[in-house]
């Protein structure tokens, strides 16, 4: 098993390990293939512009949502249990954007014997622009057993 972090070892205000990808059609097409998400705005520049994005086709929000999950799992390890994750898509994922998922711990608590951590999360582009701000709650393993 893989425990990267215990509840007792994290602090409010701590930034968790970032998770990053440069996104282009290779990433979007692979995601479309598994999610059956073949929507013209994600495949065709004409459709992207018709949808009022001047740069053309743009990435799927769902893929950014997956990236946020990846960040939480890679940071905390396989024993983490993500209880809640949400985000809003505030900016478009343009082709060749370098997306970086970030998270900051905002609270720690024990509830129903679970050692919970609340975080703010976001997916930022290469210019530091927030594209998918949100919140997460995860249950971490405890050194005292959970």
């Amino acid at each position: 098993m893989s425990v990267n972090v215990y509840w007792e070892d994290v602090e409010v205000g701590q930034e968790i390990t970032n998770w990053s990808r440069k996104t282009d059609f290779m990433h979007w097409n692979r995601y479309a293939a598994v999610n059956d998400e073949f929507v013209y705005i994600h495949m065709d520049d004409v459709a992207g512009r018709a949808a009022l994005n001047e740069q053309g086709a743009f990435g799927m929000g769902n893929l950014r949502f997956a990236y946020l999950h990846n960040m939480l799992r890679d940071w905390a390890g396989d024993e983490v249990q993500v209880r809640k994750l949400g985000c809003q898509y505030r900016a478009i994922n343009q082709k060749d954007d370098v997306l970086t998922c970030v998270g900051t711990i905002v609270a720690k608590r024990v509830e129903n014997d679970e050692h919970l951590v609340d975080l703010t999360v976001d997916v930022k582009n290469q210019e530091g622009q927030s594209t998918a701000p949100g919140e997460a709650t995860v249950a971490l393993p405890s050194r005292n057993g959970d």
Binding site: A47, L85, Y89
Partner: protein, 164 residues
């Protein structure tokens, strides 16, 4: 605010508010579905062994391979719902027919595993209409409840759809 003549709130929307659909059932989840999903969302890196190595997964609290939480067992249906015009062509369409994913919040309970048969029921719960840089814009909130073959709750998704 949009004027009455510009409203994107249709009679169909009003009639659907608060009503949940009949359960929709996905095909059984296959190990290969989980592996491919993990490869796609971790591309170009190798995905974690939790999603493809049964021997490793047995050493974790989960006891077997589990699906990534964002995994969608409803992908690739044989029978398909009609696609809205704006999604069916590359040309787009007029006001109110264009759409985007506004975001979602998901609460997780039981994990999804190979062999699970997931059912969902979905309902439109609320909407907000306002004028944005895209013009008259409608934000709808839809709630979807996922359960497995044992009637255990898997997740509750609240998703925001954007029409403009």
């Amino acid at each position: 605010m949009t004027t009455e003549s510009e409203t994107l709130v249709t009679q169909d929307l009003i009639e659907r508010k608060g009503k949940f659909s009949e359960p929709k059932v996905a095909p059984p989840i296959a190990l290969s579905d989980i592996r491919k999903w993990a490869i796609a969302v971790y591309w170009p890196d190798e995905p974690p062994p939790m999603y493809w190595d049964e021997d490793y997964a047995k050493t974790t609290r989960h006891g077997s391979i589990i699906a990534p939480l964002d995994f969608n067992p409803f992908a690739w249906p044989v029978h398909r719902e009609p696609v809205p015009a704006a999604r069916a062509s590359a040309d787009g369409a007029g006001i109110g027919t264009r759409g985007m994913n506004g975001g979602q919040t998901e609460e997780y309970f039981e994990p999804m595993r190979a062999g699970d048969v997931i059912s969902t029921t979905t309902g439109l719960t609320e909407w907000v209409e306002r004028t944005t840089r895209l013009g008259p814009t409608l934000f709808t909130t839809t709630e979807t409840r996922w359960t497995n073959q044992n009637c255990e709750l898997v997740k509750v998704r609240k998703s925001i759809g954007i029409r403009y």
